[in-house]
């Protein structure tokens, strides 16, 4: 049994109230976390990882759980996405591969996008982390080194293992953010920011409102391939999503997740294709995508294997959207 550390839970009823709460804490220099479904944050709290004094729940704010082809609210439950007829099939399919049905009933889209990066030197109890003298991501004030790649004290290489992000990227989603300083929006691929500690562009006090998709997204065919040992519960060890508007090679989008500290869009590799996208160029494209990523040893499967599998996943995903089943 693990004891939850104490914190103050706040339940704002509106977005404005939430932002106000956040600005008050910021002004008073009090630490806080947002919580949506709690399936990522609370296990970390039980492990005494980055516990804050205050937790602001978004659960009681109404109107954040829209589910439609062009807009998905941050508080939409993953479980609801898997059965929805309104969302893009790629989102429904990617959501259905996340964790287990029990977790999906609680977990939210916003939470999944903002998933904390993971590392087996980090996702451990306090006693365990003390025994390795902490790590760079949660150094408890000791200035500890990274345990994955020692002797570099600048970067956290914890792995981002969110499942939805690559699918949102290949569907050209826009993330809408709100905070004490107002609202802003940006493409999903620009949301993530390198380093396993920084993770994304969210400033303190900001949270995700929703993700929107451009007109015509419904014409896109998509596919998400996920590598894991067990077909339930497990976080992805590698994941590749792709989509296009069938027949139009210029609309091809590919993104990967669970390989580095942030999910990655593979536009450069697509652009690097000299002879355009077709079933003949799939091997070449998959190879290029594989070469572009650099996983490290901090998840269940060894990095070399995960890297090699990117090629297989990319190949399978691309073949699927091409309708090529061979």
């Amino acid at each position: 049994m693990m004891l939850m550390p104490p914190f103050n839970l706040h339940h704002p009823k509106t977005v404005e109230e939430a932002c106000e709460l956040a600005s008050t804490f910021l002004a008073n220099n009090e630490s806080f976390d947002w919580v949506a479904g709690g399936t990522d944050l609370l296990p970390n709290y039980k492990w005494h990882i980055n516990v804050k004094t205050h937790v602001i729940s978004l659960a009681n704010i109404s109107g954040l759980d829209t589910i439609s082809m062009h807009e998905i609210g941050a508080m939409a439950r993953l479980g609801a996405l898997t059965t929805s007829k309104d969302v893009h099939p790629l989102i429904a399919s990617a959501a259905s591969k996340i964790a287990s049905s029990l977790i999906r009933n609680n977990a939210t889209v916003g939470g999944n996008i903002c998933l904390d990066t993971r590392c087996f030197w980090f996702n451990q109890s306090e006693d365990w982390r003390r025994s390795i003298d902490w790590c760079h991501k949660e150094d408890c004030g000791t200035g500890s080194d990274c345990r994955v790649i020692p002797n570099q004290n600048t970067l956290c290489v914890a792995t981002y293992q969110g499942d939805l992000a690559p699918s949102l990227m290949v569907l050209e989603g826009m993330i809408h953010i709100i905070g004490p300083n107002g609202q802003r929006n940006l493409p999903v691929e620009e949301f993530f920011q390198l380093d396993g500690i920084t993770r994304n562009v969210l400033q303190e006090g900001e949270f995700i409102l929703k993700v929107t998709f451009p007109e015509g997204v419904e014409k896109r065919t998509g596919s998400y391939k996920k590598l894991r040992i067990r077909e339930s519960w497990d976080f992805p060890e590698a994941g590749v999503a792709s989509s296009w508007i069938a027949g139009d090679a210029s609309t091809l989008r590919i993104a990967s997740t669970a390989l580095e500290s942030i999910p990655r869009s593979h536009q450069d590799e697509i652009d690097g294709l000299e002879s355009g996208f077709s079933s003949e160029t799939i091997p070449q494209l998959s190879e290029a995508i594989m070469k572009s990523i650099k996983p490290v040893n901090n998840t269940a499967l060894p990095p070399r294997y995960r890297k090699s599998m990117v090629r297989v996943l990319a190949k399978r995903s691309l073949r699927e959207i091409l309708g090529d089943r061979s």
Partner: protein, 947 residues
């Protein structure tokens, strides 16, 4: 008055119900509908169950040999005449299942005592370190802290095996792994206790740790434990074993051979319930300890030693156990800690583990390096097994002494061997201690051996099932190491999985990525000698029984039901013997105060030994009841029949008495009927050192066929179908046996496909949680077809043998062999995680000139002429086995007859060079395997040290 008349008169009374008070009329009802006090309608004679009248005899559940219709292909059994057709052989829900499914079963964490406080354990942050000093003053000063204890409070050592007591309640001198117990504290609540843990001030002297078991074979400056004059050099070798039997010259010039080097990761039991203990010193100063223990008796002994309190002043209360699988069979340091804290604080203390602490206390399967060489001669007889097992024991001995033997000796059957050579070593490392886990010690070697056989079959171009069928030891024989085999259903198990899986139309015939494989198993059904060997011929199991006037039977047993259904098994056999509905049998097994000593739920001994003891106790009661009926009816017990709460004349069921009537008669002037039954296994086995390891009154046999799908591009293996045949002698409860088979399949699949305890670069356990320790989910479960084989063991209760551990063994090799059938690559690294399989596939495609994975050649089989020889021999042996099983042939049979030896003469006299050795001769030292290198060192006493 003749008896028939008597019966008619009784019949009249019966119609009015069995009177509770003499003279009072029955069934009187008041005007307001309430019953009249003292005049309730008492159910009719023969009452007790929910049925108003006697059920007819269930002839389908009474064996042929005593006039029933239950077929007995394996022959009759000594217990047949006590069969009443009531419970044995019928699928029954476990008697404790209602409590469990309604959430009313009380597990360790459900015990709540008034005024209890919370204990927490301070654990070592170092792999290996000396404790120079511990300052607890700040801890004691923290408000809310009620007791603090350190190693100094309990200096006595304990351990589950009396020969290797190397544990303390808390570290006395040094800590031996990260997570080892250093100190403990009890406080008013958990938050305070956790805060207190941060206030200990400890001065450490960090020592150089050892993680690699191969390093453990080398001399160290500071071995993890010191065994005094028996210490092997200054290494970390805890136990070394050498065994050699048979004619080693047979292995020369083999027709086929297999040489495999295996690396098997450690696995954990992964039981649902984390350890939880509550200790309470009652007002009389006796310790009441609540703990989910598989083996309460050894915990009882260890508590007495550590606390320096006589055993009779301790009451060990076994709570419901939320899964054990061997992981709750050691006496545990936290049990001592709770007792010590409770004694200091004067209040009940609870200690609950987190999942991480469960992994730190471990006792899971040993990480192993196993090397198996085997050879077959020109007639495809197995001329030799040469096994070397280096096992990683972690920080403590636990069951390791036994595991060291089991890794070898449990491979001496079910096949007849020309020779057997085994070297084993268990070393201490600075990791959580390994111990006993379902299939104790037999699982890893079994996998290596069965895969080796598959490889030899391929070399000889024969079917691996036929290779096995032509090399089996028959029933009533003796293994090369001297184990006494009684019943043996191996052949039937192989035949039935072959048929069920349609093996002959699939093996080596499926497309790339689809495969089918075979594996067999052999396991002990109870260990012949108890762990605490006792010169006074103490029984292994004792059962007490008591029946009072209400007719309910209270059975007292110390057998620990850990979910395997031992309580149900006891209730069933008592119910069967006394012909009473099972709801009339109440099993009390939780407290050592009321339970006779039972050695616990390990080595698959419970059903065999405890049910045998229960049968004996029930027979005593049965005799008393029959004698009373004799007195009442005038018919001798030999012509009386027990059936559903009635005892009647065999040739006229109308002449009889109800169970209650007979009981009340038997109770005259005595009060409640009580009886006691005990079981002790017969003397058997060889006389060489270690002969007792692996010795059992009976052995179980099993054969599995597994079908797998392998994704050749990713290396992901999924097991789709399993046909699982297990010889459990006689299924007392087929439902429970099937549950054990399917559960074993699940557990074994975890070890073969995904589960491993990952020790990283720094020696830390990287995955002490259930997300990263990958137990297969229901999604990964194949469709399992359980097949029960009943070979009717002559000494088992109603013929039963174990079904709890043996069924786990074959799934590993079956899957590994199926993966070979699917992709043509032999992998000798467990678990077969996708990266391991992919690496092997890549190596193969590279070796074949860089072909694509999808172009891998699938292995195919074209029978050689040996195949016919094997089929002929198998057919011949089938008839031999049938006659021996049914005792139509009672001639002696020892391992070696297949090689032409005379079973009635000592083998040593027949063969020059027939060896039976437990120590290597000097010229062998050079050629020993990895673990065998432990024999290069001398013990301290031989070196003149540490007298």
């Amino acid at each position: 008055m003749n008896h028939r008349c008597h019966q008619v008169m009784r019949g009249d009374v019966m119609a009015g119900g069995y009177r509770q008070q003499p003279g009072a009329s029955s069934g009187e009802v008041r005007k307001d509908g309430k019953r009249v006090a003292g005049k309730q309608k008492f159910p009719p004679p023969g009452s007790g169950g929910s049925r108003p009248t006697m059920a007819p005899r269930d002839l389908d559940a009474i064996p042929e040999s005593v006039g029933g219709k239950e077929p007995q292909p394996a022959g009759s059994h000594i217990h047949d005449r006590y069969r009443t057709g009531t419970e044995v052989g019928k699928p029954r829900a476990l008697v404790d299942s209602h409590a469990k499914v309604t959430g009313q079963a009380w597990y360790g964490d459900d015990v709540r005592l008034p005024n209890e406080i919370i204990g927490k354990i301070l654990r070592s942050p170092h792999h290996y370190a000396k404790i120079k000093s511990i300052d607890t003053s700040k801890v004691e000063a923290l408000p809310g802290v009620l007791a603090v204890a350190t190693g100094a409070d309990a200096p006595n050592t304990f351990g589950v095996l009396p020969v290797t007591k190397d544990e303390h309640a808390m570290a006395v001198e040094k800590v031996r792994h990260v997570g080892d117990l250093v100190a403990c504290v009890a406080a008013v609540d958990e938050a305070t206790a956790m805060e207190a843990l941060n206030l200990f001030e400890i001065e450490w002297e960090v020592l150089e740790p050892v993680f690699d078991p191969r390093k453990g074979l080398e001399d160290q400056d500071e071995p993890i434990h010191w065994r005094g004059k028996y210490h092997v050099g200054t290494t970390n070798v805890q136990k070394r074993v050498f065994q050699e039997f048979g004619d080693r010259s047979l292995v020369e010039d083999p027709t086929a051979s297999s040489h495999g080097k295996w690396r098997m990761e450690g696995v954990h039991h992964g039981f649902t319930e984390p350890h939880a203990v509550v200790a309470h010193w009652d007002p009389n100063g006796r310790l009441q300890l609540y703990t989910p223990q598989q083996v309460p008796h050894y915990a009882h002994r260890a508590l007495s030693t550590v606390l320096e309190v006589p055993m009779h002043q301790i009451n060990v209360i076994r709570t419901f156990v939320g899964g054990g699988f061997g992981g709750k069979s050691d006496p545990f340091p936290h049990e001592m800690c709770a007792a010590i804290l409770a004694r200091k604080a004067g209040r009940p203390v609870r200690i609950n583990f987190t999942r991480e602490e469960v992994y730190w206390i471990n006792r899971g399967r040993h990480p192993s390096y196993i090397e198996v060489k085997m050879t077959a001669d020109e007639e495809a007889r197995i001329s030799g097994f040469d096994i070397d097992a280096l096992i990683d024991g972690g920080g403590f001995a636990s069951f390791g002494h036994v595991t060291s033997y089991y890794n070898g000796v449990l491979a001496t059957a079910p096949y007849e061997l020309g020779s057997f050579h085994y070297t084993g070593a268990r070393v201490w490392t600075n990791k959580p201690a390994s111990g006993a886990m379902r299939g104790h010690g037999a699982v890893n070697t079994r996998c290596a051996v069965e895969v080796g056989l598959d490889e030899m079959a391929e070399q000889m171009q024969v079917d691996p099932i036929d290779l096995r069928l032509a090399n089996l030891l028959p029933p009533h024989s003796r293994t090369i190491s001297g184990f006494r085999i009684t019943s043996n259903g191996m052949r039937e198990a192989l035949e039935r999985v072959r048929e069920g899986s349609e093996w002959d139309s699939k093996f080596r015939q499926m497309p790339l990525g689809k495969g089918i494989g075979i594996g067999c198993g052999f396991f002990i059904s109870g260990s012949g000698l108890p762990i605490h060997w006792d010169p006074n011929r103490f029984p292994h199991a004792t059962v007490h029984m008591q029946i009072d006037m209400d007719g309910g039977v209270t059975v007292h047993t110390g057998a620990a039901d850990i979910g395997q259904g031992s309580t149900t098994a006891v209730a069933q056999v008592v119910s069967e013997v006394l012909a009473l509905p099972i709801e009339m049998i109440h099993v009390r097994s939780h407290e050592s105060d009321t339970s006779p000593v039972d050695l616990g739920s390990y080595s698959s001994r419970v059903t065999f030994m405890n049910a045998n003891a229960a049968i004996r106790a029930a027979l005593d009661i049965r005799e008393k009841l029959l004698n009373a009926a004799w007195e009442m009816l005038g018919y001798h017990p030999d012509v009386l029949v027990l059936n559903d709460r009635r005892i009647y004349y065999k040739h006229d069921p109308a002449v009889g008495v109800s169970y209650l009537e007979a009981l009340h008669k038997a109770q005259e002037d005595k009060g409640s009927l009580i009886s006691s039954g005990a079981y002790r296994s017969p003397p058997m086995g060889g006389v060489h050192k270690g002969a007792a390891a692996g010795l059992a009154p009976a052995y179980s046999f099993s054969a599995y066929v597994a079908e797998v799908d392998v994704d050749v591009e990713t290396g992901l293996v999924s097991c789709t179908n399993v046909w699982a045949a297990h010889d459990c002698g006689k299924a007392l409860n087929p439902l429970a046996v099937e549950g054990q088979i399917i559960g074993s399949c699940h557990m074994g699949l975890g070890q073969v496909l995904s589960e491993k305890m990952v020790y990283g670069r720094t020696g830390h356990l990287q995955n002490p949680n259930l997300l990263e320790y990958k137990i297969p989910s229901v999604h990964e479960m194949p469709h399992v077809t359980p097949i029960i084989v009943e070979s009717s063991d002559p000494e088992g209760p109603f013929g039963a043998k174990e079904a709890g551990e043996g069924p786990l063994l074959p799934i590993l090799p079956a899957v590994v062999n199926a993966v070979y059938d699917a992709i043509g690559v032999r992998i000798r690294e467990l678990p077969l995680t996708p990266d391991v399989v992919w690496k092997a596939i890549s190596a193969k495609t590279k070796a074949l000139g860089g072909i694509d994975e999808t172009e891998l050649p699938s292995p195919r089989l074209e029978h050689s002429s040996l195949q016919e020889t094997l089929v002929a021999r198998g057919t011949e042996h089938k008839e031999r086995d049938r006659r021996r099983q049914r005792s139509e042939d009672t001639s002696a049979y020892v391992n070696g007859v297949l090689f032409g030896f005379d079973p009635d003469q000592p083998l040593e006299d027949q063969v020059e060079g027939w060896r039976s050795a437990v120590e290597p001769v000097p010229e062998q030292l050079a050629e020993l395997g990895l673990a065998g290198k432990a024999w290069l060192k001398k013990e301290q006493r031989q070196m003149g040290g540490d007298q």
